[in-house]
């Protein structure tokens, strides 16, 4: 029987040393330990903090991922020697994380499952060579990361340690508990691969700068960014690439991470132009006690042949398209990618679908515009229902009721019939569009849907404005 009401979610190290345990009802916990201090659990923010921690670990290896609710997994293959070996890397990790208030235990092993088990059920530290197998065999069954019910079932049958499972034929285990325990066992012993998905696929075009003393001023960061951009652009030039999306990570001394992203209108590897895109965002940044590490990566690149960029004396057309790209970038950087858009023709005669709004930075090349009858300057996003008085049932409107008033129609042109696209909506009804001139000079585009005498009365809506 589980206790109702609030329960303990996590414990500090001191609390864990008492008789309290996770899942215990708060009332019971208070009875055991009257002076208990509690705070509301916030799993969402915990997850965010864990992700931030995983990103922070990017200082050791580009392949980092969160692991469950309380773990971070680093693939340090080929990276450990940069920190002076696995043991030194973990020591460095511990000395850096301890002041930030993290209680941690790090383990390194030949495969992720073994490292996971050793960090939680072993003593932590580096596990290598033949020691791994014996260490793994001595771990309890729970180290296999099984569902609690499965683990309990195994324990009830007398399987206490991993070695007990290794001793029995695997086929009998599969019949009784399904494929998972055997699979986990193989993964733990390194006989089967463990899939690993990093938080962000690392870019192969990246620059990292770290300093012994943190940089505390915006000017310092700007200078460092300039330096990083220059060397990144050299790398890009060598690969004949230009950046479309750049990501700048600034690791603060207190463990927080600022991530800035800029997009360019076309492939670009001009340090000055790229720097301008970052400058606005850098200005308002909270640097805390200073930035200790900067990482700049081109997360999206495109082919860019060897050519001279930003020539001042270039031809007029080229200079203009250059200026156009700069303007688009700047507006997008400040307002957001969905707020600066271009109009593009869509291959459709249905008025709402004739036009597509695409982000100006990724605008496809223009397609020819349909020229099919007069079209309004503005199309209402939601057509407004109007009341119509017509001389004959199927004729043009003579008088409109909309916007809380009546308006006389002085001249009308139409109808222009538009048939629905049967391949999109087979139930659609044809529309009859009219251009109307009102007595006050306004010109409207109204439509009638449904014909007279076919059951439901026709519906009139105001679709667009001409002037």
């Amino acid at each position: 029987m589980e206790a109702s009401g609030p329960r303990l979610y996590a414990l500090t190290r001191e609390a864990a040393a008492t008789k309290l345990h996770c899942g215990l009802g708060l009332a019971d916990a208070r009875a055991i330990c009257p002076g208990l201090a509690v705070a509301d659990a916030d799993p969402k923010r915990d997850a965010q903090a864990l992700e931030a921690l995983a990103l922070w670990c990017g200082r050791y290896t580009p392949w980092t991922a969160t692991d469950g609710d309380d773990g971070v997994l680093l693939d340090i293959t080929g990276c450990a020697h940069l920190a002076g070996g696995e043991a030194n890397l973990m020591a460095d990790l511990e000395t850096r994380l301890a002041p930030l208030g993290f209680a941690m235990r790090a383990a390194s092993a030949a495969n992720p499952a073994a490292a996971w088990a050793w960090a939680r059920f072993g003593t932590g530290g580096v596990l290598a060579g033949t020691r791994t197998e014996t260490a793994m065999l001595n771990l309890p069954i729970t180290a296999l990361r099984l569902e609690p019910a499965t683990a309990q079932g195994l324990v009830r049958l007398g399987f206490k340690r991993v070695r007990d499972l290794e001793a029995v034929p695997h086929s009998t285990l599969t019949t009784r508990f399904g494929a998972v325990p055997v699979q986990r066992l193989h993964q733990l012993m390194g006989r089967m691969e463990v899939p690993f998905t990093a938080l962000a696929a690392p870019s192969c075009h990246a620059v990292r700068l770290a300093w012994a003393e943190p940089l505390g001023t915006t000017e310092g960061i700007e200078a460092a960014l300039g330096e990083a951009l220059a060397s990144l652009c050299r790398v890009l030039e060598h690969a004949q690439l230009g950046a479309r999306v750049l990501q700048l990570d600034l690791a603060r001394l207190d463990g927080a991470l600022h991530r800035l992203q800029v997009r360019t209108a076309c492939a670009n590897r001009e340090p000055k132009a790229l720097f301008r895109l970052f400058r606005d965002d850098l200005d308002g940044l909270d640097l805390g006690f200073g930035i200790e590490c900067l990482r700049l990566a081109a997360t999206r690149t495109e082919q860019l042949g060897a050519r001279q960029l930003h020539s001042d004396g270039g031809s007029g057309g080229e200079a203009r398209s250059e200026a156009e790209a700069r303007l688009t970038e700047r507006l997008t950087q400040r307002l957001g990618i969905d707020r600066v858009r271009r109009l593009r023709a869509n291959d459709s005669h249905w008025p709402e679908r004739t036009i597509r709004l695409v982000p100006a930075l990724d605008a496809p090349s223009p397609a020819p515009w349909p020229t099919r009858g007069p079209r309004p300057l503005r199309l209402l996003e939601e057509p407004r229902p109007i009341g119509v008085v017509a001389a004959v049932p199927d004729g043009a409107p003579r008088r409109l009721r909309f916007g809380g008033g009546l308006a006389d129609v002085v001249a009308a042109e139409g109808p222009e019939r538009i048939e629905p696209e049967w391949w999109r909506d087979p139930e659609g009804q044809p529309r009859d569009y009219y251009r109307l001139d009102l007595a006050d000079g306004r010109r409207l585009w109204v439509r009638r849907e449904g014909a007279f005498g076919t059951g439901a009365p026709p519906r009139w809506t105001l679709d667009g404005l001409f002037a």
Partner: protein, 257 residues
């Protein structure tokens, strides 16, 4: 500044000769960059209309204000005329709220005003401040033909900033505003009060060209006037409504004479 304008207007009324040109040149020097004589203009098409404007057309490197309901078409047509002399991007800055109320630009409809829908950059601002920022940024760019901004609140200081930005970039700023705001001070070179007017169709069942009653309400170096203008779609130019058709319409008649 006000007094100087009066002097200019007086001499323009009495004797439009070499004196006037000299005076204008002198004023241009006084104003520093305000070079009315050498600034390029975009002709609007109708002779009388162009003659009424200082410099013989809509001045580039400046901002202009259009006030009134249903003035979006007039503004689009102005931008279309500018695009003929200065090809480039037309940036249309809009308030998100206003777009919901008044609809969004429709590509094929823009072509009727001489604008290429592929060369339109649509900017959504969350508020007036963002719209103004985007306008200023766009006006400063050399790639821009015209920047249309739908703004309600604009003070003299802000409009001066826009004007300076337009002088840097070389394009035209077109402010689309409610008619009531025309009473506020502004650095716009011309200010128009526009409302749609009934069009004249040649025969029943066909609509005539779009017509506006456009009042040149205030312009530096020009006499305020009212015109009945149409935008002729086949030739993409403004024209005056034939005065006979509308009975006596003194301003148009005088302009024709």
């Amino acid at each position: 500044m006000r007094a100087m304008n009066d002097v200019c207007l007086l001499s323009a009324a009495s004797d439009p000769t070499a004196d006037l040109l000299a005076l204008r040149a002198a004023m241009a020097r006084l104003g520093g960059r305000c070079s009315r004589t050498c600034a390029t203009v975009a002709e609007l098409g109708a002779v009388a209309l162009d003659r009424a404007l200082p410099g013989g057309g809509l001045r580039l490197q400046a901002i202009h204000e259009v006030g009134g309901r249903g003035a979006a078409g007039f503004t689009a047509a102005l931008a279309g005329r500018v695009a003929r002399v200065r090809p480039g991007l037309v940036v249309w800055c809009q308030h998100r709220r206003r777009r919901r109320d008044e609809g969004m630009l429709h590509g094929p409809g823009l072509m009727a005003f001489g604008l290429d829908p592929d060369r339109i950059l649509l900017v959504d601002g969350a508020n007036d401040a963002q719209v103004l920022w985007a306008m200023e940024e766009a006006l400063r760019s050399t790639a821009v033909t015209a920047v249309v901004g739908e703004v309600e609140r604009l003070d003299l200081f802000r409009s001066r900033r826009l004007h300076l930005a337009a002088e840097t970039g070389g394009g035209v700023g077109l402010l689309l505003r409610p008619a009531a705001t025309l009473l506020e001070p502004s650095a716009a070179v011309t200010r128009w009060r526009v409302r749609p007017a009934p069009s004249l169709s040649r025969w029943p069942g066909e609509l005539g060209p779009l017509t506006w009653s456009a009042e040149l309400w205030r312009a530096k170096g020009a006499v305020p006037r009212r015109f009945e203008v149409v935008f002729d779609e086949p030739t993409l130019r403004f024209d005056l409504v034939a005065d006979l058709a509308h009975g006596s319409f003194s301003a148009a008649a005088a302009a024709h004479g």
